[in-house]
Symmetry: C2
Subunit: 688 residues, 2 copies
């Protein structure tokens, strides 16, 4: 998709331009005309012949010159007509008008029609129901937000126009600059996914920040995000965490929010940095915007206040990035110019009476330390502190280092001017140490994720395998069943390489029990009507002989007349694992696995896999996730079989992708052993 | 301890006053003289007869009038002499001078001498090595921080002087007012505990905020904090979370940081609100400072931007305080004046073109809803938004409501003036919704903790019980053992009402095995030298008959020559619980309990009890903590015995308090059942 002309148009038409002060049409016209845009601007409104002293066309069609981009702000009912009439000539649209998908049946129909037109005529459409787009690089503000943001390396995509306006106001204060500001509104055609792909190729974009309330096409998003986040950091503030929030979304843009945990799992997998709050969003963007290189694994903190040093240290607690242990030589160099009471541990405490010289020498001393990717200057404004001069020293040092350099000047009035100066000179200041360290750690984790994501496994659907498996499901469907029998599930598992426990069916019509049974055994009801077997007496454990089995079969036939039963060997105790597939409404099938047993729900020791997954990725998930302890040497505890469990999970990932007809799936339990025995799926529920 | 004269002195002497610009002595003198203090100020310095046109005394002794407070800023080596010479006359001191406990042996000796003098002469001393104290109510700045903070209802105690200066600068910007600002320095005598007790009785103090790097006397702190936090909220930012941080502390004030998790447990128990960051600290203080009443359980959000509404909603995720479900009547009333596209769900979305009238009517509509304790106005500054007028409407409404009223005006320049106006009128604004909701929820949780903490259990030491138990320990110590034998531990457990598994000793000198053994059994080595039995073949499970036992005894005697062995019945499987006692260096004995078994360390399903604990508190800890699921009806899962487990934990709490000679203690496992069988301690380790 080539969006060059949409985002760097040579000419723009404002359809619905208006001379009336305060209207959207007037703000749009003024923004296009008065903020330095060098391209041609055409104003369009059938009611006027001149607006702001410039010719006004009655329709887009009337313009004989080429129009690269049309910004449309006319009543919803006229929009489709206007687009249709010009679809051959004008290919790029920003549709500001509301009254589409967000307002019920009429609007939805109108939006569907517009989408079809876009498809049929290869149009590119932003919106409808959006604020517009701003490209400071070409000084084009094609939105009804006032002013021109500074030029810079941030691309910002927002699903809320109002929030975008507020964030631009904050950005101004923080001296943040943009390549693109894009309000996506109903994202009928161009959504986060297409924009991710476009912005990945935009050389001026260093960091992509998004505010999203929903993800339009989960599978496409996963693919794009994986690719893009290898190239540049993608920071997303995804709203809609709890039920109330989802309610607010439904009434806001009519979008459907996926489950929040799955969203987090998808973001993590694809290398997207999820901002937990607006504050985190800004901190990350600000830090990345101002950094020359990506951060290394360690940081050095220079401060004039022990208290702030301690708090900064605290903020590294549990983080991937850590404070560097300073080399004795470095400490010696620091000692040479620092007073005796100062601390040459990291954080380096220059003491409260510190002037700019100590900061300068300390900066020079730590400048060369390898593995240190970030230097943090923390300051509290004591009465004698030359705050401005210290800022100057830091600004000067910025030119001499490639390391990330950021400040934590804690205070109000006394540090205000210095902070302004710092941010004007490309140094992000953070009001409190925790904000900086969180952002720094996020940026560092991105570099790690980026490395991890280097090989994208292809989603390999094996048509033969799928065909064979689908037949089993079709057979059950033909009998109007909602679930597979255990013997069918067992066959399905075999296809995907998952070992299940042996089983012998006892069909309702048979009177004699199977002969070759090795006791002890388990008897289960095998019916799509009985899903929670333990609740309903559908399970008898540890049957010791034939007589006990006969009794158990009689009882169960009484409780579940006409149902199939199965006999399985009673397995030796092992560790119970649960493996399930959740069909997320946004992201599609997601595989989850974790500790099984009766406390599964309470322990919540669960991790997610988002297919496609390679065996390597699955092993890494196992080794770094909540079950990692199974593969570490613990006291009196042998390791479990990593490859075997990874293989089972890979099989389930393949199945989840190949068989979208499976609505719900779980293995509960999968019993695994650490004494050489193979893991075995004991119960497999396949809802179709 | 009567600290009236220390904090509201009629007269102050500045010992070490100096005319020399920029020195601490000159700042102190000017602060006392020039900021409106109405009491008498005496300047003291043997080198001067006049400073700033005012008489200068050569020594404290020379002043014939009464001196309520002496602020001492002379070289450390002269401090003790000066205090000693005047101890009969001057009872209250703020000692600014450094060179005491923080600088090694000499300093420590000097500080010990000073502490002794304080004791012997009933002196009250703040410091040494501190910034000083400020009481805006009497306009006395007895510190070397410049300026006079606004008068208000916050008392702020800081273990870092530099941080206090920075925080006062922030406070100014946020229009926060103080009753006391106290820099406690080395807190030789007056520490957080004494100040908590004093500030609890100060009527003008509504909220106590503390920055602490250590707690001086853990037991005394627990007692005071429990008492005080019933009366008013105590917000503490406690630094020293990780190892690096603790290193920084050691070189900063020489304080010893306790384990962070125990600190959190103690704060929770005592009702203290622990701020996780500087930002949280300010948000809590600011919110409480400006609130007329404590918050109820529900909140209403009014906004002009759906996006901010969603983020605000999100911020309530997992919180105790929740968004109110609006009554249909309220929604109808809102519908009457709001446009159709607006949302009358909570958050109430007034839409982006909202002017002050919609805010005003919405505020009036929700003003009367019972159970709603907080109203939040969120705003994004759209081009047509009358930000200032909306602020006026909110300020006006503040006079008409007792509910907490706070704002989230998201933006930079466009909202700056309005935010200033809001905070000048007692309305706290938060830059981002999450900050406000976190603070609101913290304040609400305080009201819940306060209710819980209504009955303080007394720490009842039973001297007879202690005597009996101590004898067992003394006996083992007399034999130079570091641990109790199992039979002794069993006796100890009996004293504290904990049932342990039966056991039969097999002494090294005996050749014949005990006769009346009911198989199956377990054989264990019982030695203070072998603490991890499973690692070292010191444990044989499931021995079926006498022959097997004889073999096992022979093997174990070979592996552990000369050791005692014990035989225990093999118990039926149940749920494994671990119970331990950790002797924290600051807070004393803390009891921890959680899920046992081989994965204890990985699952970390552990909660803490901080003695003294009542049976009611322990039951509440069980019902609300990580093991709560044991007492809820789960599928196919009977409840465990709450009273029995609480009783066991109470016994261990009593033991922990009565027997400080126990260095380490754990029961691992305590097996509990949900089928009527009593819980049993299977292994009990008592290190003495």
């Amino acid at each position: 998709m080539n969006l060059e002309k949409l985002f760097s148009p040579q000419s723009v038409a404002i359809v619905g331009a208006s001379p009336e002060e305060g209207t959207v049409g007037s703000v749009l016209a003024k923004n296009a005309l008065e903020l330095g845009y060098k391209g041609k601007v055409f104003l369009v409104n059938p009611k006027h012949t001149e607006i702001f002293g410039q010719k006004c066309y009655h329709s887009l069609a009337e313009i004989s010159e080429p129009v690269d981009l049309a910004v449309v702000a006319i009543p919803a009912k006229f929009v489709n007509g206007e687009v249709k009439a010009n679809a051959a000539k004008v290919k790029n649209y920003v549709i500001i008008s509301a009254g589409f998908g967000e307002i019920g049946e009429d609007g939805k129909a109108r939006q569907a029609e517009l989408a079809e037109m876009a498809n049929a005529n290869s149009l590119h459409i932003i919106g409808p129901n959006c604020l517009g787009i701003i490209m400071p690089g070409v000084k084009l503000n094609a939105s009804f937000a006032g002013g021109m943001p500074a030029k810079g390396n941030i691309s910002f995509v927002s699903q809320s126009g109002a929030l975008a306006v507020a964030l631009l106001d904050i950005a101004k204060e923080r001296n943040l600059g943009f390549t693109h500001v894009i309000s996506i509104g109903n994202k009928m055609q161009l959504s986060e996914t297409e924009l991710l792909e476009y912005l990945a190729t935009d050389e001026k974009t260093k960091v992509i920040g998004m505010y999203l309330e929903s993800v339009k096409d989960g599978q496409a998003f996963i693919k794009a995000a994986r690719k893009v986040s290898k190239l540049k950091p993608v920071v997303i503030l995804k709203a809609g965490k709890n039920e109330k929030a989802q309610k607010a979304i439904s009434s806001h843009t009519g979008a459907l929010a996926g489950s929040d945990e799955i969203t987090s799992a998808v973001f993590k997998k694809t290398g997207v940095l999820r901002a937990g709050s607006l504050e985190e969003f800004f901190s990350l963007i600000d830090l990345i915007h101002n950094s020359k290189t990506v951060p290394g694994p360690q940081a050095v903190v220079i401060t004039d206040a022990g208290g702030v040093g301690v708090l900064t240290s605290d903020a590294f607690s549990g983080k991937s990035m850590q404070l560097a242990d300073l080399d004795p030589k470095v400490k010696e160099m620091l000692r040479e110019f620092l007073p005796e009471e100062s601390s040459v541990e990291n954080p380096i405490d220059l003491l409260g009476d510190s002037h700019e010289d100590r900061y300068q020498k300390a900066l020079e001393t730590v400048a060369g330390i390898k593995d240190v990717g970030a230097i943090i200057c923390a300051l509290t404004p004591q009465d004698q502190t030359p705050v401005g001069k210290i800022a100057d020293v830091i600004i000067d040092f910025k030119h001499k280092t490639d390391k990330i350099l950021a400040t934590v000047f804690v205070g109000g009035e006394r540090v205000e001017e210095a902070i302004k100066k710092l941010s004007q000179n490309g140094i992000a200041n953070f009001g409190f140490p925790e904000q900086l360290i969180n952002a720094l750690d996020g940026y560092y984790r991105w570099t790690l994720l980026r490395e991890k994501n280097n090989k994208l496994p292809e989603q390999v659907i094996n048509p033969k395998r799928r065909e064979y498996a689908a037949k089993i499901i079709a057979g059950a469907k033909a009998e109007n069943r909602k679930a597979l029998y255990f013997s069918e599930a067992r066959e399905l598992m075999e296809i995907y390489g998952v070992k299940t426990v042996e089983c012998t069916d006892i069909l309702p019509e048979k009177n004699s029990l199977p002969t070759k049974i090795k006791f002890p055994v388990v008897l289960k009801v095998d019916s799509d009507q009985v899903l929670h077997k333990t609740d309903k007496k559908g399970l008898v454990l540890n049957i010791q002989d034939k007589k006990e089995l006969e009794k158990a079969v009689d009882d169960m036939r009484f409780n579940f007349p006409g149902s199939r039963l199965v006999v399985q060997p009673m397995l030796p105790g092992g560790l119970e694992i649960i493996v399930g597939v959740k069909l997320d409404s946004v992201f599609g099938p997601v595989v989850l696995y974790g500790l099984g047993g009766i406390y599964t729900e309470y322990l919540k020791m669960v991790d997610y896999l988002v297919p496609p997954e390679s065996i390597g990725e699955i092993e890494e998930s196992l080794l770094s996730g909540k079950l990692k302890f199974l593969f570490q040497d613990a006291r009196g505890q042998k390791n479990y079989n990593l490859e075997e469990l990874a293989g089972t999970l890979l099989g389930i990932c393949l199945m989840a992708v190949e068989l979208p007809e499976i609505k719900e799936f779980d293995i509960n339990p999968l019993i695994v052993y650490n004494d050489g025995k193979s893991g075995v799926a004991v119960d497999v529920k396949v809802i179709i």
